[in-house]
């Protein structure tokens, strides 16, 4: 199965890159753009077939390496 992990900064953690992107969009004329937050997407292929096990193992991967949980949060999406 395939998995996609979204890693974003926790609420309240300053995101200077997101801010810079927001300013750039405003200066391109996209006036409707308010706050912008930037994150990462990591796509993984897993040999695991059991979704519950896959989810548990992805959670471990996020906690141990993919995210720094001091500043980041993660979301896991699984597709067959």
């Amino acid at each position: 199965m395939k998995a996609r992990v979204f890693i974003t900064l926790k609420n309240g953690v300053l995101d200077p890159q997101g801010k810079a992107i927001g300013h750039a969009l405003n200066s391109l004329g996209f006036r409707a753009v308010g706050e912008v937050r930037q994150g990462k997407v990591i796509d993984l292929e897993l040999s695991e077939r059991d979704e519950t096990k896959a989810r548990a193992s992805l959670k471990e991967m996020c906690e141990q390496l993919l995210a720094n949980t001091v500043i980041e949060k993660y979301e896991i999406e699984i597709s067959p």
Partner: protein
């Protein structure tokens, strides 16, 4: 005093650290490759500046999982003295050996210049040759040096006298919370700092304000 400097792929201040250590202690440090599994018998380990593993994923994230870090972490828990400079500080936070995290600089620029640093705490293995309140000048060179921790952690660091170095007022180069430039772990045997003391240990290189840090270690660990 016996010391070792860890070399990660893309460390680039390892030799500067080795030269500073040799000049101050009179003994050549052992250079230890990141894939080695065991440290030699030393009193001090230095994690140098650089861009270990190309800063992939997050600065220090891969290095924190290297074989040698497992040994360093175990020995630090038993009291081994560890100094992390710049990328070394990032590795220590990623390894969970120091609290908080280092983030992109608030103004998104790589900052490379001398900055005023206030020594907040001379009661440590790393800073006893400075005086509390002393203003020194150390170079910084980082793009990801913006220290972040939650308020509770910051209060604890300050309350326990674990903020050893702070950027001088209005000279915070990266947006670090409470102007934090260097902190200790709870046991006070692990220090991480973003500025580079090893680059200012010889008058030929423009200053000697970093030298007392290594002299402190020599006095503490000999």
């Amino acid at each position: 005093m016996k010391s070792a400097v860890v070399v990660f792929p893309a460390s680039n201040c390892d030799r500067d650290a080795a030269v500073a250590l040799e000049q101050v202690t009179g003994q050549k440090p052992t250079m230890v490759w990141h894939a080695d599994t065991e440290l030699p018998d030393v009193d001090l380990v230095v994690l140098p500046g650089g861009f270990a593993h190309g800063d992939y994923l997050r600065c220090g994230a891969m290095a924190a999982l290297s074989a040698i870090m497992r040994d360093i972490k175990a020995k630090a828990e038993k009291g081994l003295t560890v100094l992390g400079i710049c990328n070394g500080f990032q590795v220590l936070t990623e390894a969970g050996m120091l609290p908080g995290a280092l983030m992109r600089n608030a103004r998104l620029k790589f900052v490379c210049r001398p900055v005023g640093i206030d020594v907040q705490e001379s009661q440590s293995l790393f800073s006893r040759k400075y005086e509390s309140g002393q203003r020194i000048t150390l170079p910084v060179a980082n793009g990801v040096g913006n220290y972040f921790a939650d308020d509770e952690t910051l209060d604890r660091l300050e309350g326990e006298g674990r903020v050893v170095f702070r950027y001088a007022e209005s000279d915070n180069p990266n947006g670090s919370m409470r102007s934090i430039a260097g902190i200790l772990n709870q046991k006070r045997n692990v220090l991480g700092l973003m500025p580079h003391p090893e680059r200012v240990c010889d008058p030929l290189l423009g200053g000697t304000d970093g030298r007392p840090l290594f002299e402190s270690l020599l006095e503490s660990l000999s």
